[in-house]
Symmetry: C2
Subunit: 131 residues, 2 copies
Amino acid sequence: MTGYEVLEIGSPDEWLAQGKRFADKEMDTQYIGVSANALEPGGEAPLWHTHSRLEELYFFLAGRGQMALDDDVIDVGPGSVVRVGQGVWRTLRATPESPGELRWLCIRSGGGELKEVSGDSERDAERPRPW
Amino acid sequence: MTGYEVLEIGSPDEWLAQGKRFADKEMDTQYIGVSANALEPGGEAPLWHTHSRLEELYFFLAGRGQMALDDDVIDVGPGSVVRVGQGVWRTLRATPESPGELRWLCIRSGGGELKEVSGDSERDAERPRPW
């Protein structure tokens, strides 16, 4: 899939107002998925989820937060890169004390064309958060 | 490849001083490669390159720059996402007038385990830049 394509997805200070945006749903990517995300201090992801095929990399750019990974909770901030493998349940939040918005990119890929390996997620909106 | 791993790759304001860092070379990723990059105003990539298997996504976060893609030159800034397919030659620079450093992530993946599809690049340090 040769050629190139350009998308203007908004600068990081616009991500909160825009809501989660998936670059791969607004342009025609082949293997790589990426979403631009932001949460206000104290905000949290709406649910836990896991993937059976996709690997995800969470690349944090600003603010302070926590990620829950199965039974673990880790602290994240600017420059934290979290690789999450298949079958790991995850959710996250911006800590109430975060100095500004938590902003991050969530990158995903799965060893094949993205459209073939997507749709592999399982979600759990009932599982309690660990914080 | 289940489980998770955390890397602290430095906050965006440290990327210039650190030099280009590949998260995938400092942690054990499966499908996704990503590097953290910064250039001072007027700075440019050392050469043109292309990939025969990998797709790359350049996600710009701060500053102003230009990318050369074969015979085209495009302007990029915060929130520009550029997908580059196989066989396209590319290079980039921060424009001299950029209000601060150009900062971006370069994400790559290739439809298989990263270690199997990497090593597919061709480089040209002699080709003149178009700006």
